[in-house]
Symmetry: C2
Subunit: 231 residues, 2 copies
Amino acid sequence: MLSSCGARLRALRALCRDASAPARNPRPALRSFSSEKDPTPLSSSWSEELRLLSHQFMKKCDNGSWTLIPPQVFHDLQYQAYRTFQNSKLMKGRQVSTTLFLARNFQEILGFEYALFYNKDERRVVCFFQGGPLLQGFPGLLHGGATATLIDSIMAILAVNTMGFIMTTTLNITYKRPIAIGSVVVLNIQVDKIEGKKVFLSCSVRSADEKILYSEATSLYIKLDLEKRLT
Amino acid sequence: MLSSCGARLRALRALCRDASAPARNPRPALRSFSSEKDPTPLSSSWSEELRLLSHQFMKKCDNGSWTLIPPQVFHDLQYQAYRTFQNSKLMKGRQVSTTLFLARNFQEILGFEYALFYNKDERRVVCFFQGGPLLQGFPGLLHGGATATLIDSIMAILAVNTMGFIMTTTLNITYKRPIAIGSVVVLNIQVDKIEGKKVFLSCSVRSADEKILYSEATSLYIKLDLEKRLT
């Protein structure tokens, strides 16, 4: 996550409004945000619960306070970052591709499935997430590394929207209860503090009804200096 | 990682000795530990540096102090855990498979490639790791989530060998410098403290020559009670 995605988010706001349009069609077809190839049709890889929660939340996009961020945006940003930085000192001599760990490498249904919503004014992100069996650690349960990957990636989305180009500096996760494969959880992420180039975030991972706390996390991201080499 | 793998490690020790056997063949064919299907031939997915480092370290297995743990062991343990627990209260009513997040889902060369060594007496694990382009976050660099996944998984291997069946409770990572895709790093993991059912571990991720510190981490794993349900 390497760029402010304000422009794309504004463009997506219209899509979001369409998707949550009321009543004429009592159950509008949701867009699939899980497939890289075709982000438009209803996703077969989302559980009924994930669809319902996402659809309900989409109504909050109507007044413009919340904005939907489909995974396709990550890929666009990654590609944009590649183009932007390929001649910078930061990238000099480095072989890059446009792949991204979180949103790739997994078959539909079996990996990371999620719907993301961003609130610029409140500096918050809400993410509905459904983890497939390829993310298994302990049998039947989400791998701690998959949870960490999810948290780091979603926190980075908020950090990049707050600060621009950033990099993870610390990530502290407390695993309170294990998450069952196939269940839907909700991540609430917020900016706690900004100090110069540093942005401090916190995250909770709860059950869909928010009654069960699965994990808590804090992180620190630091804004990058594009004129400096990283490695 | 759900079982003490002492028996399997003992069996593997002989393999390890064979692989590091001296002189008759000046450069013995190393086993591939990156493929699920065929763990025996030389791995085409390892860089020359990863092969060399692993080969050098294998010599330490000669006196039995260090033991090689190939990824295939993880899969065997996962399957063993499935069989062991499928009728326990812990697993009751839960759909499980034998997949594992870390060691699966990625094509050779492009994902997680690693050689693991365990020292029972010193309660340490050393891991040589090479991250492929599918693990990319920032262009050309390893995703923080991939690093977290690797650290959690390798720490868990030491925890399970120390305590038996465990689960991650806390994971705290400090990212000092980014890791370039394709480079080889070395993880040094040790047990810092044991308190009842708790085991505290620490980890450093350094360059192959150990001069550059990329990341540091601490974690807490807790031994599981097999008579209790987890979720």
